[in-house]
Every structure is written in structure tokens, then in C-alpha cells.
Symmetry: C2
Subunit: 318 residues, 2 copies
């Protein structure tokens, strides 16, 4: 059964036990040169090496493992044009059940191919919120599929929490964990793991200035919608939900925006120094470090590298 309340300590431990058999235990990378340049010690948790190329697989597989065999038969469904869609498709395939992924007709071929490669069944909608919701509701009604929201779902949040849990088990004495925030699934999961497993660590959400609804929401104590966001971080266009915002409000220390210019610099720095491929969204935490050097000087940081799914023919520095 999907969790119906905010994940408790035992539920995150349970989630981690369950998903361990399915997710990659991703390595943490660091670079002496980068640390010397920045004057702090950074551990990059490489979820770009996670199955389907992003942390989203943790939440998707945990949701899938939380529902009954009876529900499995009818499949799972979601709306997502990005990493969650691919993650849910692969999660469903591990149990040989259908995953219905609602996507706008205008989707880029590369994203379509990713979902199909993992066996997802794409159902097209018009590129409007109304059409997306209507199409999804229809799939759920007709097929009896279980809807797995990309982030407004406590089982998904518990799954994402396992990433920070691994960080805390591996690295002692951290001052900060920095994670990007879009809809807030990863950030709220990270904040819960901090609360239960590393209460002294500060959690910083990071987002593009051109999509800074989360930092404004955090500051004002009320959810601001994400209206007409402008950023290359296509993974961070969503807005917080009731569930994620409530956890973030109570357990996150700050949400800091970064400019597009810094995000591109940070992305290139990670490619060049760590020799790993990360998507723009994954570079936002390092961009925040670049713009706030004093705050992090001599500190010990973990940064969650959220994903590595990027169109290699369209790089932002070209």
C-alpha cells in the first residue's frame, strides 16, 4: 500500500531495505583540484549512474514495491515528460507490469525514446495541464492503474530519501547537503533522512533563478506556483506540492537560487573535472556554491548529482 502519511524513520529504513535489491548503490566522487579551487570539501553522490540515469528510479521502485500484487496486474500510470517517466517504466518492467506514461504530443523524440526503451506505454495528450490531467484520469479509470505522482506521493518521497541515507551512512561529519528542488520530492526525502539519521547536517535546496518559486515559497511560507519558468534545467520546472512543501518548510535550512550563467559554469566544471556526464539540473547545487563561496569555505558538503540525461547534441556552452 502506498504510504498515506509523512514517512517515519522506520518507513525510510524499510524503504531502503526494499529498494536495495533494485537500485545501484551509487559512488561518491570528489576532486582535489575542485576542492582546492573552492576551498571546501565536496562529495558528489552520483545518481547520474543510477538506473535510468537519475535518482527518480529510487522513488518509482519504492512506490511500485509498496502496492499489492493485485494492483500490479492493472499497472501503474503517471504524467511525466522526463526522468520520472523513464524510472517508472523500468520499475514496472522489473515486475513485468504495464506502465502508462502520459506525455504531451510536443515531447522531444529523445525523451519519448527513453521511456519506450524501458518498455513504457506512451499515451499522448495535448500540451496543456487540463489535457494532461484528463488523459491521466481516463487511463486510471479505464485500466485501474495506480497513479504514481512524480513527487506528491509519500512512497516516492521515502524512496528518494534513501539517497541521502546512503550519504549519511558513508560520510561522517558533513556540514551541508545540497540538492536541487523542482517539485520537491528529492529535497523533502533528503530533509527527512537528515531529520532521522543526521540531525546536525544542514540541508540546502537549490534552484535556478529563472524558476525560483521554491525559494519564494520557502521565504513566504506559502506555495507560489511555477509560472512561465525560464531555465535550461528542464528537470526543475515543477512546483512544490502540499506534501513536499510541508516537509521542506519544517526540515530544510534554506533554498538558494543560482543564475543560468553559474549553472552552465558549474555543469562544465563537473564534466571537465569529474569526467562525468550530468544534466543541467544536477549542476545547480555547485552553481550555488560558486555564487556563495564564503558560506561554504572550509566546510564539508555533499551534493546530490541528480541525473545525467542530457541531449549530447545540444550542450549549453556551444
Amino acid at each position: 500500500m502506498l504510504l498515506s502519511t509523512e514517512p517515519a524513520r522506520a518507513e525510510i529504513i524499510e524503504a531502503h531495505k526494499k529498494v536495495k535489491k533494485f537500485v545501484h548503490y551509487t559512488p561518491t566522487f570528489s576532486s582535489k583540484t575542485l576542492n582546492a579551487i573552492l576551498g571546501c570539501k565536496i562529495f558528489f553522490k552520483c545518481e547520474n549512474f543510477q538506473k535510468t540515469g537519475s535518482f527518480k528510479f529510487r522513488g518509482a521502485i519504492n512506490a511500485l514495491l509498496s502496492i499489492s500484487k493485485y494492483e500490479w496486474k492493472k499497472g501503474v500510470a503517471t504524467h511525466s515528460s522526463g526522468n520520472h517517466g523513464a524510472a517508472l517504466a523500468l520499475a514496472a518492467r522489473t515486475k513485468r507490469i504495464p506502465a502508462y506514461i502520459v506525455m504531451p504530443r510536443t515531447i522531444s523524440p529523445i525523451k519519448k525514446i527513453a521511456v519506450e526503451a524501458y518498455g513504457g506505454k506512451i499515451i499522448y495528450c495535448e500540451p496543456t495541464l487540463a489535457s494532461r490531467e484528463e488523459t491521466l484520469a481516463k487511463v486510471v479509470a479505464e485500466r485501474g492503474a495506480t497513479f504514481v505522482h512524480p513527487y506528491d506521493n509519500y512512497s516516492v518521497i521515502a524512496g528518494q530519501a534513501t539517497c541521502a541515507k546512503e550519504i549519511f551512512e558513508e560520510i561522517q561529519g558533513l556540514d551541508f547537503v545540497l540538492a536541487p528542488v523542482g517539485g520537491g520530492g528529492l529535497l523533502s526525502g533528503t530533509a527527512l533522512s537528515k531529520k532521522f539519521f543526521a540531525p546536525d547536517v544542514k540541508i540546502i535546496g537549490t534552484e535556478p533563478k529563472g524558476a525560483d518559486d521554491a525559494s519564494r515559497s520557502f521565504r513566504d511560507g506559502t506555495i507560489h506556483p511555477s509560472i512561465d519558468p525560464h531555465t535550461i534545467c528542464d528537470g526543475l520546472l515543477a512546483q512544490l506540492s502540499e506534501k513536499t512543501f510541508d516537509i521542506i518548510r519544517k526540515n530544510v535550512d534554506d533554498i538558494i537560487p543560482a543564475s543560468e550563467e553559474s549553472i552552465i559554469s558549474a555543469m562544465r566544471m563537473i564534466w571537465e573535472r569529474l569526467k562525468i556526464i550530468v544534466e543541467p539540473s544536477a549542476a545547480v547545487p555547485l552553481a550555488v556554491v560558486l555564487e556563495n563561496r564564503k558560506k561554504f569555505i572550509n566546510k564539508k558538503l555533499a551534493i546530490i548529482i541528480t541525473g545525467g540525461n542530457v541531449d549530447l547534441t545540444k550542450l549549453p556552452w556551444q
Copy 2:
């Protein structure tokens, strides 16, 4: 003292003990999807994560640790416009001694910056073989620096051999190890490690068709010069030396060329599937697998990912 004869088993073991404190123990990566596509099991030894971004640091540091403190004072010198120059510069810096790197005036700024970033002292020559040798000889005569050839040097070869030694210690039951071959330092080191530590494994050298002097030399039993090579693999333009060819002839099972088209496909496949940055030269072994599927079907392979130093503004698929 630099080794004056072909490295024996004990000398490679000794080299590994010495360099261990200085080199990164690099991870081996694999991809279920890639294995499923190719019908074999491939372990990628990620020397792109090695210090200075290539395996060359192993040979450079081993050479440096082989000479006396008296020699250290006078510094080390080499001619290299690529990874060996950067590797020797950083190796020298660990002992705070000078590294003189002879480079043609026409060198790309990106390569110059890499050597300077590691503290190397660049000495320019004209872009001809005669000028290079003359300039190097002058540095050696005037400064008393020890010349560390990029590959025609047994201590360098012993250092490169430590990479395959790590592979054999980590992965049992391999059928093949595939490595690129330019001047043959890595391939000869790999072949020696096979001879001493994993005699049942087959060693395959791989090179671009547009620079296939090594496979022609291997076939004909005599060194063919590398004349006017045409390939994007700028790390594989050198030709075999007496020392490397002799080891390769006796201990390597085959040298197979691959087309530029396959090299670009293989490179992109590695970037997309493994989410790691590898230079064109490092993709040649996978290109050979792509072109010789039957040979490797159901086999267990290790591929040495030689380096990850690539100009991110000039990608070959763009």
C-alpha cells in the same frame, strides 16, 4: 634508476606497490543495457578518472619514483603535446621538482593550459620532429634533466602495466582485455601483466583504421612508421618503438583496427550509457567490439578507458 631491461614480474609488483600511494585506484563500470545490446559482458576500467584524466599518470609517476633524489633535483623532461606531458608535470609536482615539457608552437591552447595547470614548464619548438628532438636534447644537456619518453621507457611501461594488474586482481575469468595502441606503452604493459598474472586472458590491441601502423607492424613483424595518420584519436598518432613492439609481438594476441564511424558511435554509446566522459582514443576498443560482434559474443571482456581529456566544445557528433 630507470629500468634498463624488459620489466620482470617482480618489477611490475614493485612498481604497483610504489605507485599505489600516488595513483587513484580507478573503478570498473559496466552497463546491463550495453551488455544486453552487445551480447557480452564488458567491464570498463575507468582511467579517465585517473589523476590528470588518463592512465599516463601511472607510467609518469613510476618513472619519477625510479630515479634518484640527485636526479630529481635537476628535473625531468619530455616531448608530449598530450596526456603524457600533463601526467609528467603532475608527477614532478608531487616531489616539487621541475618538469620541462617540449611542445610545438602550434599546440592548441587547451593542451597548453593543462600542462601549465599541473606546474609544467613549457618549452616551445617548431612543429617538426627535428626541432622537437633538438629542443629536448638541449634541455637535457643544459639542465641535466632526466628524459622520460612517453612510452619507449621500461619504467613507464611497468607503470602502465599496473592498470591491467588491477583489472586481473578485481575480475576473474576474463576472456579478453582490449586496449588502444598508439606508441604501445599501455598495450605492452597490459601484455606483460597478462603474461605474469593472467596468462589465459587474450590481449587485443585496437587502433583507428586511419592510423593502423600498429596492426600492420604486428602482421608483418617489423615496425611500420606512422605516416600522415588521419583520425580524431589524437592520443593514438605515435608509432611503436623497439621496446614496446618487442613486448607486443611476443605477448599480444591480435591488433584490430576500427573505422572512425565506429569510434564515434562507440564514444557516444559510452557517454550516453555509462554517463562518463571519455576521449575518442578511449572508445576504440568498444568500436572494435561493435565491428566484430561474433568474436566477442558471450565473452567476458575488460576494456581500458584510457582517458577523458576532450575539448567539450568540439564533439565529433556535432
